[in-house]
Symmetry: C2
Subunit: 215 residues, 2 copies
């Protein structure tokens, strides 16, 4: 620790942090074990440590337990996923059909995350030029939650194959809230340092080498 | 480590990770010390460990060294920031004027980050319903880079008070790239566990308590 109490992060911590990034995963297979509510609460508090534009903290979290609401979300996923399968080019359809793209049936915890586009907190600082900054701030909170969850042994899966309007209506959230993502959270059935989409042959990670320009 | 090589994260690591989240900060004051190029390269590789929709890895990084390009970005910030100041309500204008909203003059490293909306990698999986997932994936990479940078003693500042079209033209990037953010990176002049916007009285963080609904 330094004079003003700032922590010093050493090489051992950085190595573990890199392991956390490497083993994070988007999880679609969960064990049924429940997640302690206090742990979820702590994760949401941690998520709120994320940076946000103008300190606007536009993240809004909805924990979804009600079976009818979960079913509405599941139905939206099933419809959108069937549409996506039908839209696949012939050479990818068989692989697509093999993918498991959501853990909605198994995950003990369902979390919908929204950006509140109507908040006055932050006085719109930094949003006049890039209004999408509110949504991006919420994504930063998701990233924070995801890493904290993985460090606690939990897996997180991001479901985006959804009709946002259907999800908003099912969860009865304010009209000014924008759906950022719907998340399955629970203890993962398995751990890996390779994305499931890579293991199942959908796509391979390519790293940063090809995507850096120097100007 | 477990049987398949998966790391086990213990309470000590989680406590340090929480400290990392607490002391991350959006930095606008930098020391002039240069950042080793190998460290920047490693940070970009780490950023590419972030999750991305369909494994599309749509992040594109542009390291900006050319003085004329930096000046064009700085000019865009100055114009947009003057507009934002002029648009402040009277009671906030004095506080706004006191804020330092970018470290563009001091930061040794400038990084522009884009989402490539034209990539075919990932086969559009997960984007048909929510095309904004490509941008969100890039924000996840930014979050990853930011945390890794802070763990290496570096500060990162996100500049969004910019005209994206001006930045794109100045950096001469492909038309299909969407600006996600422009980042100042360097060793911070000071460290704190309180956001600068809070210290200067612009806004106060409120935590997660008020923003969680249970359904």
């Amino acid at each position: 620790m330094t004079e003003n109490g700032a922590p010093v992060f050493d090489a051992a911590f950085r190595a573990q942090l890199l392991e956390l990034f490497r083993w994070r995963r988007d999880v679609r297979h969960f064990r049924p074990d429940p997640v302690p509510p206090a742990l979820i609460e702590a994760l949401l508090e941690t998520a709120a440590l994320a940076p946000s534009v103008g300190l606007s903290e536009p993240w809004r979290f909805v924990l979804v337990d009600e079976p009818a609401m979960r079913m509405a979300v599941r139905d939206s996923f099933a419809r959108c996923n069937a549409d996506a399968l039908a839209a696949q080019p012939a050479e990818r359809a068989a692989v697509y059909a093999r993918l498991k793209l959501a853990g909605l049936d198994d995950a003990p915890c369902h979390l919908a995350v929204f950006a509140d586009s109507t908040t006055t907190q932050g006085g719109n600082l930094g949003c006049a030029t890039m209004p999408e900054m509110a949504a991006y701030s919420v994504v930063m909170a998701v990233s924070t939650l995801w890493l904290a969850a993985r460090a606690s042994g939990l897996g997180v899966g991001w479901v985006s194959i959804l009709d946002a309007a259907v999800v908003k209506a099912a969860l009865d959230v304010p009209v000014g809230w924008q759906l950022i993502g719907y998340f399955c959270i629970g203890y993962p059935a398995a751990e890996s340092d390779r994305p499931e989409l890579a293991r199942l042959g959908w796509e391979q990670p390519r790293g940063a080498g090809m995507v850096v320009l120097c100007r």
